[in-house]
Amino acid sequence: MKARTLRVFAALSLSLTALGAAAQEDGVLDSAVVRNRLYKPAGHPELSLSVGLPVQTHLTAHYFFNAGLAYNLFDTFALEARAGYAASRHTGLARSISESFLDREDKRVTDELEDMWRMGLHGVVGARWAPIYGKISLVADIPVHFQTYLWAGGGLTNLKRQSVIQCTQVVDRAAGVCDNRTAVDDRGSATENYWVKESRVAPVVSAALGFRFFIKEQHGIRLELRDWIFKDSYRVNLLRDDWEAGNPTGEPAGSPGLTHLVQFDLGYTFSF
């Protein structure tokens, strides 16, 4: 790892010294487009694996693990099926809110927070359109061929939601405890919590902008910015007395809007 890092830094440093610029004197080349594409994926199936990290987190954070199977109908167009699992958690901010809100008894009527649903298992089918084929000169002497593509598709996902407002069994209001931990300051000892939980299966739409860098004949690296979009759902006009007594309260929000989970995906592709 160290050696590779050194190599990359050295190469980058050398490239920045503009030594190569001396070789780029005033010659103007013909106007040929990227001719003779080295990689032509048309007609080949491919398998891909990817990991997605959240670009930004508010109350939830997701880490996607996906596998995909694609078939390249043309060099520029492919159909792809993706399935995977999103590991998710509440952020520190969400936990902080949940703990402090238990003790905020002056707020007795409120609404649930938006964008609290967390994805789990999911599967989508989509189309990938790669109109751009190019190449770059990486650190002066490594040619890298790439495609830039747009991806769009839809499918189904399993969603779960845990409230940070509605605690059905307050254990320690001042300390913000709503679980069965053995000691107040030992959150890890809890095996069960009493926050209101929901789950559902919902349609999900996914769109992405990505780069696929070809590595030799069959391998490739994909970098994507991918958005997972599904309809939000939460309740409004919640009464503290009701939820703390364990009773359902409030009504569904009229226009809850859409939840966007924007991820940075790093993937590997194998072409058959």
Binding site: A21, D30, N36, K40, K135
Partner: protein
């Protein structure tokens, strides 16, 4: 030891490549398909190794070797560089492949013959046929447009914050870049955020759970100015379908400067006075100028010699410590609040010199809003002095003119 050997090789290779490229005009013109590598036994007549790697025909001499003059002088049509691992220089005995070459395949002049005549010329150095006079070693062949010595004026009409958890910024930026060298430039720039406000998410927290971001975490950037450098460590080209060529560079930038910040004191509210309702716009408090750091990266896609489009992501980093609002610190606000509660005038209060007391006194003639009501809100912001390092990451979309 291996890393050092690699670095040494790299150090040796770069000037060698540069020299080889720099010497190009004196050499015979590049043979088409001159990428980094060539197979040990280049023979265009051989079938391609991989069916998937279907490339158009490499440079094909249209005349027999015997018909060629001994001294190459007329430049051949320079092929592009995308044949990577194919034989880039035709061997003397090479014959045209059976397949008809594409219309845009480079062709040697009829009077020119291949010149790769001996083993030394076919020898590969680090995978490159450096001794082959027919091969001009390029990865992505010479840039069509040189940047060195050029000035570039970049207007980013839309600068949109993309990491706005507690804040939202939208603005416009103008940068001037002087390309000192082909891949090194100096830049100065300024940005004005014509929209900067707290995010809906922050307002949702205030509304639903009575929580909000710390003052330092929701500091707003009104404008910024910075100077720095820009490097283009790599460049490339791409085709949109097969129709048009675009040359692009990866640009990385860094710099430092100064930015003016503010904080929301009170969101827009309705003020009801004597049966009439007035809309009172949001009020912001000045939180001073802050040191600004800037790092970024993106693509510059050049169209023609004088125009380019830039798509970049830049992070404006500023340290935020909020202990004064409109110049007033906590002690000032405490004194003002005490005077307000007692309905006393503010004149004669022992306030710090920087406190702009006039901003918290009087009644707005249009909205009838009593500014004294904002004292408590200002005090809340500085009651617990907070500090943070803010990353204002924005997407910059702009166009530039080079001259």
């Amino acid at each position: 030891m291996r890393p050092f050997r690699s670095i040494a090789l790299l150090v040796a290779a770069v000037p060698a490549l540069a020299f080889a490229q720099g010497a190009a005009p004196a050499q015979p013109p590049a043979a088409p398909g001159s990428d980094t590598t060539a197979p040990a036994s280049p023979s265009p007549a051989e079938p391609p190794e991989r069916q998937r790697t279907q490339r158009d025909a490499p440079a094909v001499p249209q005349s027999t070797p015997e018909a060629a003059p001994a001294t190459p002088s007329a430049p051949a049509a320079t092929g592009e560089d995308d044949t990577d691992s194919t034989p880039s220089a035709p061997a003397p005995e090479a014959q045209a492949p059976a397949a008809t070459p594409p219309a845009d395949a480079p062709v040697l002049d009829t009077g020119e013959a291949p010149r790769t005549t001996d083993a030394q010329q076919q020898r590969l150095v680090n995978g490159a046929p450096l001794y082959n006079p027919n091969v001009n070693v390029h990865i992505v062949q010479k840039k069509r447009f040189a940047d060195e010595g050029k000035h570039e004026l970049v207007l980013y009409p839309g600068v949109v914050q993309v990491n706005g958890k507690f804040t939202n910024h939208v603005g416009t930026a103008l940068h001037y870049v002087y390309h000192l060298q082909e891949n090194f430039a100096l830049q100065v720039g300024g940005q004005y955020n014509w929209y900067s406000d707290e995010s809906d998410f922050n307002l949702e927290l205030i509304d639903k759970v009575r929580e909000q971001a710390q003052a330092a975490s929701s500091l707003l950037l009104q404008w910024g100015a910075h100077a720095g450098v820009e490097v283009t460590p790599l460049y490339g080209k791409f085709a949109f379908f097969n129709n048009s060529l675009a040359q692009f560079s990866l640009v990385l930038s860094g710099g430092a400067g100064i930015g003016k910040t503010r904080h929301l004191i009170r969101p827009e509210v309705a003020n009801e006075v004597e049966g009439q309702t007035y809309q009172v716009p949001a009020r912001f408090g000045d939180t001073g100028n802050k040191f600004l750091g800037e790092v970024g990266g993106g693509f510059r896609v050049q169209f023609g010699e004088s125009y380019a489009i830039r798509l970049e992501v830049r992070d404006l980093i500023y340290t935020a410590r909020v202990d004064k609002v409109d110049g007033c610190n906590l002690a000032d606000f405490e004194a003002l609040e005490a005077a307000r509660a007692a309905n006393q005038p503010f004149e004669g209060l022992n306030l710090s010199g920087s406190c702009k007391v006039a901003k918290f006194d009087g009644v707005d003639p249009e909205t009838k809003k009593n500014y004294r009501e904002d004292i408590i809100l200002g005090r809340d912001l500085v009651a617990e002095p907070s500090s943070d390092v803010l990353n204002n990451v924005s997407f910059y979309a702009g166009f530039s003119v080079l001259f």
